[in-house]
Each structure stands twice: as structure tokens, then as C-alpha cells.
């Protein structure tokens, strides 16, 4: 008999790789944070002596969800400004609130709230883009959450940096250096949008990204208004500018990409640009509906992001991937577009690919980190089970996520967060609520 740290025996194991596989009566073996075996339960019980054995007779085990785009700290602004289009939402709702309140402390408290919500909903990795990224990284490490920390780059002064030069310097010193080769934290550059940077700044960023070998993510072609403004200001579509600047390659994650021409789709596919599709945010801000069935058919890797809670309003990957699967069918007029199994892959392995982490996470395969989520299907609304993956994508809710492991650590145990003091998180959240509410003029019931 061999020792192992953890043996997990769910009713169904869906490894995602290979696609469509559903393993029954199998066990996942975890050692030192990584998956070291995946085998029939009977054989596992004969071979391994686990420190911890966990049986989940009504549950399915899947790779933890990869949230390919969010602004975690904005959880404190959830519902602050609803029912407004992107540009008004930014100018009247979000930017004034941010100008008044964004600080390292706000980012710490908001990121903790967001990470707690994400882990409770089965997300084991998030790609972030917000001010004070060094704080986001610290919180992620403290709470043992996997994160891709996007260091924000904008031309205008913010609470975090006074210009692009300082953003790049801080990004380099504070973030990329510190987390080089960290087991949980990766970093990338996150220029906000093409409107937010000059050509010179983009070129500077490109040189540094090449030197440091880090990836880049950017909001791109999110709304018609963004395209119109870019055409007026520069005579070019934002993507054309990135092409001219030499930034279009497989290290690029284009966030949103709601509006692409046929030729842009072809260039995305040829150059390996990844897309973070944020369907609920795009609907809520009336930005449009990205035709992801077309994108996928063209060969583009499409991941799923929740976007920030101020525009979603939840960091709930199950809800966003369900919306993505349903929308893809409705918009493409093809009920076979984005099957349940394909949707699950988008929320896991395709997300890992989009972040450059596919060798490490995104599927239940030997050698990868044990980033896992366990979902209870024994609920009225998820029964009967003809196909567990169908129930996961089309019926399961975040509250059915009972157990989550991140790099092997049991972060959610029978529905309880093991390493996060949620009362404390909520009490700080309530303090921020009063601060934010005091600075906005809204109706009298607040």
C-alpha cells in the first residue's frame, strides 16, 4: 500500500480532458497539492492508504472553474449603479465612486469578499485587473487562491500610479518580480483599453512584456461606442491599432470581443489570440452579444469571465457559463452549439489556456494542480440525472458546490469555507457599503 494525502471518490468524475468523458466509480489521488493518480475506485482502495478519504456518493467532481476576467475588488460596488449603458455606468456610476474610495484597504476588503464568493461557487482561479494589484496578489496568497494578477496600465493618474511609466515600474517591481514562479500567482500586464494608452506607452509595455515574458490582457471591442470613439480619435479600430503596434499574438487575452468583423475573427484565429467572454456583463451593460459559436468554429479559444460584480452582479461562473451556453444556441440558431460538455471545458480548460496555465490546471489529469470542485446533484431541481454534465451546466447553482480544493488544500468543506472568516469579511463589506452609499446621490431608501 502506498500513502497518499487525499483520496476523493465522487459518484461521477468529469476530467474535461478527454472531452465528454464521465467516469463513474473512480478516485482522484492527491499528493503535495497535485493530482498524482486517477483510477477506478476499487484499484485505488487496494493501492493507496490516504491520510484523508472523501466519499461523495451524490456528487460530481470537475476541475475548478477558471474565471478568465474579473475586477475582484469591485464586489464592494455590486448593485451601486444598475440599468445604465457601459459609458454612462463608468462616467456616472463607477468612476466617481472609485475616485473617492479606491485605496489599498478597499482593494484588500473587496478582494477578500470576491475570493470568498468565488471559492464558495467552485472557482479556483481568477484573472484580475484592478488597482493595487500587489494587494490583490497578497490577499490571494493569504487566502490560498490561485490568481492571474493583471497589473493595470492607464495613461491618466489613478490612486495607484500617476502615469504609465509609474504603472510599468510598479508592475515590474511590486508584482512580476515578487511572484516569479509562485505556485499560486501568475502576473500579466493589463492595459485597460486602447483608449487608455498612447502608442508610445503600448510600445514601452510591449518591450517590457517581452523582456519579462508575461502575457497581456485588455478590454477590446466591448461596445459599439468604444469602436466609434476609437475611429473618431485615431481613424482605426482598436484591434487594428494593436496589430500595428505588434501586440497581436497568442499571449494576448482580448476581454469581451463582442464586436469582431469576419477578417478580425480570422486574424484572432490565426494568431492565437484568446477571448474572455463575459456574457452577463455584456447583456447587462447592453454592450451586445458576442457570437461565440462563430468564434469557436473559427478555431478561437474562448474562455468565460464574470467581469466585475459591479456589472454582472455576481462572480458566479456556473451562472455565466450557463448563460454562455444558452446564448450561443439562441444567437447562432443552432441548439447544438456549445454542448454541455463544451461549456464545461470553456469554464475550465479553455480558461486555463487563455491564461497560459493549461499545463498546470483546467482538467483532472495526473501532474496538474489539484484544483477541484465537487457539486451535489441530489437536489429537487437537478433530478433525475440522465447526464451529470447536463445537470451541471443547465440546472446546478453555486450553492450546490460543496467542496473545493486549490492546489490540494480543502478550501470548501461540505459547503463551509475553511480558511476565510466570512463574518469578518461581511462586516468590513458593510462598512464600505455605507462609505460608497454616502458618496452617491440615489433615491432615499439607501
Amino acid at each position: 500500500m502506498q500513502h497518499c494525502d487525499t483520496l476523493i471518490a465522487p459518484r461521477w468524475c468529469v476530467p474535461v480532458e478527454p472531452l465528454n468523458a464521465v467516469l463513474t466509480d473512480h478516485a482522484v489521488i492527491v499528493n503535495d497539492g497535485r493530482i498524482t493518480d486517477l483510477l477506478p475506485l476499487k484499484a485505488a482502495l487496494e493501492r493507496y492508504q490516504p491520510s484523508v478519504a472523501i466519499e461523495k456518493p451524490d456528487h460530481m467532481l470537475v476541475p475548478g472553474f477558471v474565471n478568465a476576467h474579473t475586477h475582484a475588488a469591485m464586489s464592494l460596488m455590486r448593485g451601486l449603479a444598475d440599468d445604465m449603458p457601459l459609458e454612462r455606468w463608468l462616467r456616472e456610476g463607477i468612476w466617481p465612486a472609485e475616485e473617492r474610495w479606491v485605496s489599498a484597504e478597499m482593494v484588500r476588503d473587496g478582494t477578500e469578499l470576491a475570493i470568498a464568493e468565488m471559492i464558495a461557487g467552485g472557482t479556483t482561479c481568477f484573472s484580475d485587473q484592478y488597482y493595487f494589484p500587489e494587494v490583490v496578489a497578497e490577499v490571494a496568497v493569504d487566502l490560498h487562491m490561485r490568481a492571474m494578477i493583471g497589473t493595470p496600465i492607464v495613461e491618466f493618474p489613478t490612486a495607484w500610479a500617476k502615469n504609465v511609466a509609474e504603472s510599468l515600474e510598479k508592475a515590474n517591481d511590486l508584482v512580476h518580480d515578487r511572484y516569479n514562479d509562485h505556485p499560486l500567482i501568475s502576473t500579466c500586464f493589463a492595459p485597460h483599453s486602447t483608449a487608455a494608452l498612447s502608442d508610445d506607452s503600448f510600445l514601452e509595455l510591449r518591450v517590457l512584456a517581452d523582456q519579462l515574458d508575461v502575457r497581456t490582457q485588455i478590454h477590446l471591442h466591448e461596445s459599439a461606442a468604444e469602436l466609434a470613439a476609437a475611429l473618431e480619435a485615431t481613424g482605426r479600430r482598436p484591434f487594428d491599432r494593436l496589430l500595428d503596434l505588434g501586440l497581436v499574438n497568442a499571449s494576448l487575452l482580448a476581454v469581451h470581443a463582442v464586436h469582431l468583423t469576419r477578417s478580425e475573427i480570422d486574424i484572432f484565429a490565426e494568431s492565437g489570440v484568446n477571448i474572455a467572454h463575459c456574457p452577463r456583463s455584456n447583456l447587462k451593460l447592453a454592450s451586445g452579444i458576442a457570437p461565440i459559436a462563430n468564434y469557436r468554429n473559427a478555431g478561437i479559444n474562448v474562455a468565460i469571465g464574470t467581469d466585475g460584480a459591479a456589472s454582472n452582479n455576481a462572480l458566479d461562473m456556473l451562472s455565466d457559463v450557463r448563460t454562455a451556453a444558452l446564448l450561443a444556441k439562441g444567437v447562432s440558431h443552432d441548439a447544438g452549439a456549445v454542448s454541455a460538455n463544451e461549456a464545461l471545458k470553456m469554464a475550465t480548460l479553455d480558461g486555463a489556456t487563455a491564461l497560459g496555465l493549461a499545463a498546470e490546471i483546467g482538467s483532472i489529469e495526473v501532474g496538474k494542480w489539484a484544483d477541484l470542485a465537487c457539486i451535489d446533484l441530489n437536489r429537487l431541481h437537478s433530478q433525475p440525472v440522465y447526464d451529470p454534465v447536463s445537470q451541471l451546466i443547465y440546472t446546478a447553482r453555486a450553492d450546490q458546490v460543496t467542496d473545493v480544493w486549490i492546489a490540494g488544500r480543502h478550501q470548501l468543506d461540505n459547503g463551509k469555507l475553511t480558511h476565510i472568516d466570512t463574518d469578518n469579511v461581511l462586516s468590513r463589506c458593510h462598512e464600505w457599503r455605507d462609505r460608497f452609499a454616502s458618496s452617491i446621490s440615489r433615491n432615499s431608501r439607501i
Copy 2:
């Protein structure tokens, strides 16, 4: 001091009528199943001596949701046939399974599962359309659920009736007679679609509907294929046929109505036809996206339905109304379309209107039945609360529904169904799963 049956004191009370009202520190008083007072809590405590007093300090109280269209018993076919368009889904997935298995027993067990799921998710009234409607009505009465029982009318023989004449006779004898003026049950005619009935049958139905003074609901303009087939078979669009047959009036509930011309929209509005919008089902079957912002702007009453669980795949009104609110914004390019408050009204009072029940249910008003749902917002993903209605529509999940009353009876108490034996419901559900699975050829993991 006056006696009262129940006093409910939530943190926020959202009566829906008037729109946008959010009452804090108020109490709802219930007597003999009806709302008899709604007043400030302080005054309520001075005036009333309740048999039961329920304080809900983190919760909002809203009218119970009205599910304007479903096929409850199809919950047993949840996930049986996914990722197929409407016509293939019916011909290859649903109809063969129904032909083999539909019976009074199946309808009883499936309807119980559906009602349990609906009550647990805050739904207090559903409009049903399925075979053995007398069984659906019996189950609803047994479980104390409010229902509009649509008696199915089709030309072809079914397990319930051999032709239209027998359908109408059974509908009249078994259903409408028995539940005339029942406190929980209303009835209506439910011809499946224009394709399913001859002109003569429609005329016979119209005469009987007028005699009995019952309403009519019908699947109408759900998919492009339905329109094309109707044009080929009759030379007319289905709605034009109903117009010619004299069936277009304020007693008509058009289910789906995904595809309407501008002039059809005008006629709907002028004649007071109601629409049951089933956004998730329409997306999942790739039927299209009903432009409900246009419909509402034209003055049409638009209610929300889940459709059956075989095409949704959940009977979760919170999920469908959220999808409706988000889709309306995305499709109309107007982030202000269907605000959170308007969405809540669609899921409650507009549903009641669509079923002809607006005088009895759909809002928290004195004199109406006490059909109420209480939702806990003290969850990570629903905090902070700037606006409880925003949190309800954009973040809340069915598991946050903690308490439900139907005609004053406390049907869900702190998250537990008080009058339904869910273990028993699930055990019969598992038996049906095995029967249905045995009759379909699917991959080997079932």
C-alpha cells in the same frame, strides 16, 4: 389589540404595486389566507396580537412568483434530450418518451417533483399545460399550490384523450366543472398550437370557452420552423389564423411569441393579448429571442414562464426573470430596458394579469391572497445591499428563498418544505428515471 393569524416583519417589503416602492420596517398582516393589512411595524405591534409572528431581519418579502407557463410533469424528463432544436427535440427526444411513459401516475409524480421545486424557489402559482390535467389539479390541491390548469387540446390521440371532442368533454367535465370558484385552482383551455387543431376544432373550443368563461393559452410563433410549416400548410401565419377564427382577445395567453411582425405587435397591444415569455427555453431550443422591450413599449403585458424542465432545464423563476431582464437589455441595446423593479413586476403582477388573476394575487396589497416569498440577502454574493430589488433580480438564487406562503399557509419555513415529503418525491423520481432511460438510446454512461 386585534387578533391576527400571522404577522411578517421583513427588513424590506417590496409590494410591487406601486412600482419601485421599497418599504422598510413594515409588517404584513395575514388572516384567513389573505393580506389584511400592510403598515409600519411599530403601529402593527401596537395594533395586532398575532398567533404567529415572524421576523426576518436580513430578508426581503415579495409577492410569490407567478410561473406563467410550464409543463410540470415534464420535470421527470429534465436533461433527457439536450442540445437539439425544437422540432428534433420533440420528434426524437420528447414525443417517443411521452408515448411510452405518459400516464396518470407519471403526471402525478412529475407534478409533485415540479411543485416541490417551484415552492422551494419562491413560486406560488404556476400555469400548466399537460396531459391528465385533472391529476395536475388534484396534486396542486393536495400540496396546497396555486395553479392555472390548462386542459390540453390536440387533434391526434394521446394517452389522455382520443381526439378534440373527447379532450373538450373531459376538460369540461373533469376540470372546469370541478374547480369552478376554487380558492387555489383556475382552469383554461390549452390548445397545443395552431398546427395541432383544425379550424372546426378551434371554433368548437371558442364556443365552449365563451360558454364557460374560461381563458385560452397556446404556444404561438415559437420558432421560425413553426411559421414556415404553417405558411406551407395553410398559407397563413398562425396568428392570422387565430384572428380569422375570432380567438384574439384579452383572454388569450400567447406562449413564447418569439417572432412577431410590427403589425402583429400592434394587434397584440390593441386586443390585450398577453405573452408568456420563456427566455431560457427559447435560447436552449434555439427558437430565438423575443424582443420583449419592444413588446412592453408597445403596451403588451409580458409575463415570465420557465417552460417545462425538459427544455429549460429548471423551474426557477429567479433564473428566468434574470435572463429576461439581461436579454432585454442586450437585444434592445438599451441598458435601461427592463429595470430590476420592472423585472420583479413581470415575474409577479404581470404574470397574475396574464392569467386573469390580478385582482387576487401578484402584489402585496390588502385583500389579495397571502402568496408571499421571503428571500435572504445576507449571503456573500448578495452583499453589500444598495438596493434590495437589484440584489433580488441580479444576484439572488433560488436557495436564498427561505419562506413561502400560499393563501397564507406557510409552505416553506426556513428553507424546509413543510407539507411535502421530498425523500418520497425523489425516490419516485428515481424510478421514473430508470424507466425513461430504458426507452431511449443514449451513450453508455446512463
